[in-house]
Symmetry: C2
Subunit: 193 residues, 2 copies
């Protein structure tokens, strides 16, 4: 049992480093970039609050678990901003190695369980993963909106790009939420570009 | 439905401010104080990872919800370090007012639900709340240990105080975890004081 706790605390100590991984979007007062740990908390709260907009086949407790651990690979692989051009295959390989190392700190049964949940999230096929991905993509829009542009300005983003890179995917898992958020976001782009 | 989403997003936008609430403990690389949003993520991960050390009557999904929202009142009331002398009654009143205002941004049914979960956490009587409180108290010990003292040094804390202010409560909800963590923490105090 002590061995089990040793592995569990080795993991819990190590994931503290997610607090130092910076994202492209700022926090709401625009004072600094958001980090991936507080982002993970925020989208877990999105899941808790927006649960009633998920389909009946979605298990919100699983979605929350998925969102809590989905970014842990960034400790080794870094955050990849959605609007930044990159080699998707190379980045995916980096994340897979990160999942091996980081979840591998846990006892074997938990390592396998966490890796499976992370893989399910990445695959974006199950109902839980599709809803979780929708929330993960929608939160940065509202962060950018709150600060008058944020990473939209840094990456020179257009409403068309929002629709194709974000909208299509949010719409799959949470069409009502997408309709609502799109209506809030669109005026920024018609006003500024 | 749009009204419901408006209230839900008003709440989700507002709670972004938890990312600016500083705690007494530092993050693991000792570069800055931990904020309450990333702390909430970290202890939700504690619950996920340490679930197998909870009693059979504990519902881990409820514990995770509780931990995700337990610190939101700090947006208005601030964080009160456990080792800092303070007027407990005045602080509790501030937190109750904060819960009214912040959870009150949500649709009425959710406002009532979140307030009830927060009240249950604060009361520390149900099995879920007792386990949640144990994790909330244990994480700062490991943060302080990681940085060679942290808020223990700022507040001149002794092992006796750790035992009475933290140990008794962690022991109630998670005796095996307390035994393990106490053994890790105790050498710091015998070496340095
Ligand atoms: Ca993410």
């Amino acid at each position: 049992m002590t061995d089990r706790l040793s592995s569990q605390f080795a993991f819990l100590d190590e994931i503290d480093r997610l607090k130092a991984i910076e994202r492209a979007t700022p926090i709401g007062d625009n004072s600094r970039p958001e980090n991936s740990a507080e982002h993970s908390w925020h989208i877990a709260m999105y899941a808790l609050v927006l649960a009633d907009h998920a389909g009946p086949e979605v298990d919100i407790s699983r979605v929350i678990k998925m969102l809590l651990l989905h970014d842990i690979v960034e400790i080794d692989a870094g955050d990849m901003p959605i609007h930044m051009a990159h080699d998707a295959e190379a980045h995916a390989a980096k994340e897979a190695a990160a999942a091996e190392r980081l979840f591998g700190l846990l006892p074997a049964d938990q390592a396998a369980e966490f890796r499976a949940i992370w893989t399910e999230f990445e695959a974006a096929e199950s109902a839980d993963a599709v809803f979780a991905k929708s929330l993960d993509r929608v939160q940065p829009l509202l962060q950018n909106l709150a600060v008058g542009g944020g990473s939209w300005i840094d990456y020179n983003v257009t409403m068309d790009q929002i629709d194709t890179r974000v909208g299509v995917k949010v719409n799959r898992g949470a069409p009502r939420i997408w309709q609502f958020v799109r209506a809030r976001v669109a005026p920024f782009f018609s006003a500024s570009r």
